[in-house]
């Protein structure tokens, strides 16, 4: 019955010529122009280069003799002067200030996308470096390795295509200078961590301190977010004889570093000049296993109150004299980051208005004995008027870069990025210029005085420089050092190293998924030429 009905309807329509109106008809007329995907000639060059792009139908809207064009041409969102147009080509001049990126032509509000143009300068990806795709999770910290490469720690499981070979690197790995990942061997003998590692540093005997948010390392449980490992990344362990319920004793393996944070992860950990350990975080409790009162199935922990910071000996025992006493209440807010300076003092930054009961603007320095450094406190004055999220220190220069959600530091106006001297005074030689489209989420200072920034910004001084900058020490931007295209994400550290050919290079690690427009995750090595 229904099929009959349907047939009737159809027949009825056929007789009168189908649907009365084509729902897809009557649209706006296209302009009839096009930029072709083919690479321009040349496809890379420095500012001032004349470049020919392939196009279609532009002549209708051009008067090359008079230099008049009804369209505009852009590379990486920067306008490029049009020198000539034929019906199949478009010749443009690369502007003086520009970073690499895709091209497009704009006419009457419509955009015609074209190919990418690479702006040449002093910075480029080290394409011979073995890591091209990156790591599967963030890389938070690095430490130079005796093989010329680096230890890396973070929250990753796979590096490059290791997922295909089922090679797992649980938050810690060793890379060579050429960028190959050291596989499980005598030089890398670990199952890694359960959880993420934020920090890695070295003792004078070559052993390593790692910390983060971990409860297990190398299949050994009971880790209090911090551990000591050997140079091959395996956990330093000790065997303890414990009573079982049946009255017999049995041996259990523990981390030989017996100490840790009970109630929160550790943000940063440091090895002091005399091989003690300082850990910073939002913890309130230090813990240490009391094996004498434990059984095989139940470990008794002794808890000691600590606030934001704790110092331990190399075996994990807490230093009760460090940051101790009634006033040692720590931060009244959130600790975000910290560094250890050359005289075993720690500078702690975050989102707090007081530390150990003393009013301060989101930053404080503790002396080697854990007491608040009064001189530093006086030098920072009112400090930052908003949270400090990241602090990075250059020991050689004794200067630090702070990044956060502040607009003023001790009366010095700044949009979220500032250079501090080691004593807490502002280095006002550095001034961040006008930044738009987002904010800065990381800044560090290199030995040359240059500053590496990452962020969510689009433009610096009105020129599109998406997500990353290498600035001069006064905050100026040099075209040659800022040619890469879009960076997406956040850096956590920048290490000065050498490229695969032996030139000066930077290892960038963090939580990012693009560098120079290319998809690469969390680790990349870049050549930086002519660094004074």
């Amino acid at each position: 019955m229904f099929s009959m009905m349907l047939a009737f309807f159809l027949i009825a329509c056929d007789e009168t010529g189908g649907l009365a109106e084509d729902p897809y008809a009557g649209g706006k007329e296209p302009l009839g122009i096009k930029l072709l995907d083919e690479s321009p000639a040349p496809d890379k060059g420095i500012p001032g280069t004349e470049v020919v792009f392939k196009a279609k139908g532009l002549l209708k809207y051009s008067n090359p003799a008079a230099g008049e064009y009804k369209f505009e041409f852009f590379i990486n969102n920067e306008k490029a002067e049009i020198l000539n147009a034929t019906d199949t080509t478009l010749t443009v001049l690369i502007p003086a200030n520009i970073s690499s990126g895709a091209s497009f032509l704009e006419m009457e509000g419509q955009i015609f996308f074209g190919p990418r143009f690479t702006v040449l300068g002093n910075v480029s990806i080290d394409e011979n470096y073995g890591i091209k795709e990156g790591a599967s999770g963030p890389v938070y910290d690095c430490l130079p390795h005796s093989n010329g490469g680096f230890y890396i720690v973070g929250g990753f499981r796979y590096i490059e295509n290791s997922i295909e070979n089922n090679e797992v690197y649980n938050s810690i790995a060793v890379l060579t200078n050429q960028g190959s990942v050291v596989k499980k061997s005598a030089n890398y003998y670990t199952d890694g961590a359960l959880g993420s590692l934020n920090s890695i540093s070295r003792f004078s005997d070559g052993r390593l301190l790692v910390s983060g948010d971990i409860v297990r390392y190398d299949q050994t449980s009971g880790i209090g977010n911090i551990a000591i490992i050997k140079s091959d990344c395996s956990l330093v362990t000790e065997n303890i004889e414990l009573l079982r319920q049946n009255g017999e004793t049995a041996v259990k393996t523990f981390s030989s570093f017996n100490g840790g944070a009970e109630d929160a992860g550790i943000l940063k950990s440091f090895v002091t000049s005399n091989d003690d350990v300082i850990a910073i975080g939002n913890m309130k409790q230090y813990r240490r296993a009391d094996y004498a009162n434990s059984t095989y199935d139940y470990i008794q922990y002794d808890i000691t109150e600590v606030n934001s910071v704790m110092k331990m000996t190399i075996d994990g025992n807490i230093d009760q004299t460090y940051h101790a006493g009634e006033n040692a209440s720590g931060s009244n807010g959130i600790v975000n980051d910290a560094y250890l300076d050359g005289s075993d003092g720690v500078i702690i930054a975050g989102d707090f208005t007081a530390f150990d009961g003393m009013a301060t603007g989101n930053i404080i320095r503790l002396n080697a004995d854990g007491e608040v450094d009064q001189q530093y406190l006086a030098n920072i004055g009112t400090g930052a008027n908003g949270a400090i999220n990241v602090i990075r220190y250059n020991k050689a220069l004794d200067k630090a870069m702070i990044t956060g959600n502040f607009t003023e530091f001790n009366g010095f106006r700044c949009s979220g990025v500032l250079m501090l001297n080691g004593d807490g005074t502002v280095d006002d030689n550095f001034k961040l210029k006008q930044l738009s489209g987002g904010a800065v989420n990381f800044a560090t200072i290199l030995n040359s005085g240059k500053i590496v920034l990452s962020g969510t910004f689009e433009k610096y001084e009105g020129i599109t420089r998406s997500g990353m900058l290498i600035l001069e020490s006064n905050g100026d931007v040099e075209q040659n050092f800022n040619v890469p295209g879009t960076f997406t994400g956040q850096l956590y550290n920048v290490f000065e190293t050498s490229s695969t050919e032996g030139y000066y290079a930077l290892l960038l690690v963090g939580n990012f998924n693009r560098f120079d427009d290319q998809t690469i995750r969390n680790i990349v090595k870049i050549r930086v030429m002519d660094v004074e």
């Binding site: 009737f8 329509c13 009557g26 895709a102 990418r116 959130i334 959600n405 969510t456 997406t488």
Partner: protein
């Protein structure tokens, strides 16, 4: 057959029904061709909304409650009420998905999570919301064909969004029973990294051509869309611009 099983008493009913059906058929076949104004007839399938885009969004709080709050928080009411625009509407599901990702990142950092849109800098909301707005009214039929497997031939068309960033609109002509491009058409709105390398993020439009007094609304499929296209753009921008505490907002409102 079922008819044979019917009792004699019911036969009359069946006859009646048959006559009635034929009547409807004749009426229907007449109507199906003579009535070419059904497109404007109103009813459930009307593409027209008697009001501004903002009023339309307000009429569907099941999809756009948060979106409307964001429009008001960023002070963009005029754009949505008066300016002639094409709006690719991200639903609350997309916005919530991005907020969840943001919150998971804040949680890892040990920071308070976001409960109110006001905790995020209005400029951040505005910069992302304006990515979804194109000046002028573009309906499906105004937008060129796009074929994601042959972008150099059918590329759709780029337009500058209100944000300033070039975006791409394109209509994908789906195939029908093996006949290329003869099937239904689907609108795509794309965030461009490198068009020539096909490096872009597509948002699928689920409902297109909702026409209000001041332009067109195309609603983006919420199943897989993140507010801000790249899932991480919004969370990292929100964090770097600073997250306000809930009590700061509440104190301000009091």
């Amino acid at each position: 057959m079922e008819l044979n099983k019917a009792k004699p008493k019911d036969m009359n009913k069946i006859k009646l029904l048959a006559i009635f059906s034929i009547g409807i058929l004749i009426l229907g076949s007449l109507a199906s061709c003579t009535d070419d104004s059904y497109f404007n007839d109103g009813g459930t399938s009307s593409p027209f909304y008697e009001g501004s885009i903002l009023e339309y969004l307000k009429s569907r709080p099941d999809y756009f409650n948060k979106l409307v709050n964001i429009v008001e928080y960023t002070g963009m009411e005029k754009t949505f009420e008066e300016d002639e625009i094409t709006f690719f509407a991200p639903t609350d599901f997309s916005i919530n998905r991005s907020i969840q990702l943001l919150n998971s990142q804040l949680y890892i950092q040990g920071k308070d999570t976001v409960k109110l849109i006001e905790q995020i800098d209005p400029q951040v909301w505005k910069d992302f919301l304006t990515l979804y707005i194109i000046e002028g009214k573009y309906l499906l039929k105004d937008i060129p064909q796009m074929d994601t497997t042959a972008m150099n031939v059918f590329s759709g068309q780029g337009y500058k969004s209100l944000n300033g960033r070039p975006m791409n609109m394109g209509v994908v002509y789906h195939d029908l029973e093996g006949v290329k491009y003869a099937g239904y058409r689907e609108l795509f709105y794309s965030y461009i990294y490198d068009f020539a390398e096909n490096d872009l993020i597509n948002a699928h439009v689920a409902t297109s051509d909702i026409q209000s007094f001041n332009g067109a609304v195309h609603v983006i499929r919420f199943r897989d869309h993140y507010f801000g296209f790249n899932p991480y753009n919004f969370p990292s921008r929100a964090i770097s611009s600073g997250i306000k505490r809930v009590d700061e907002i509440v104190n301000k409102q009091n």
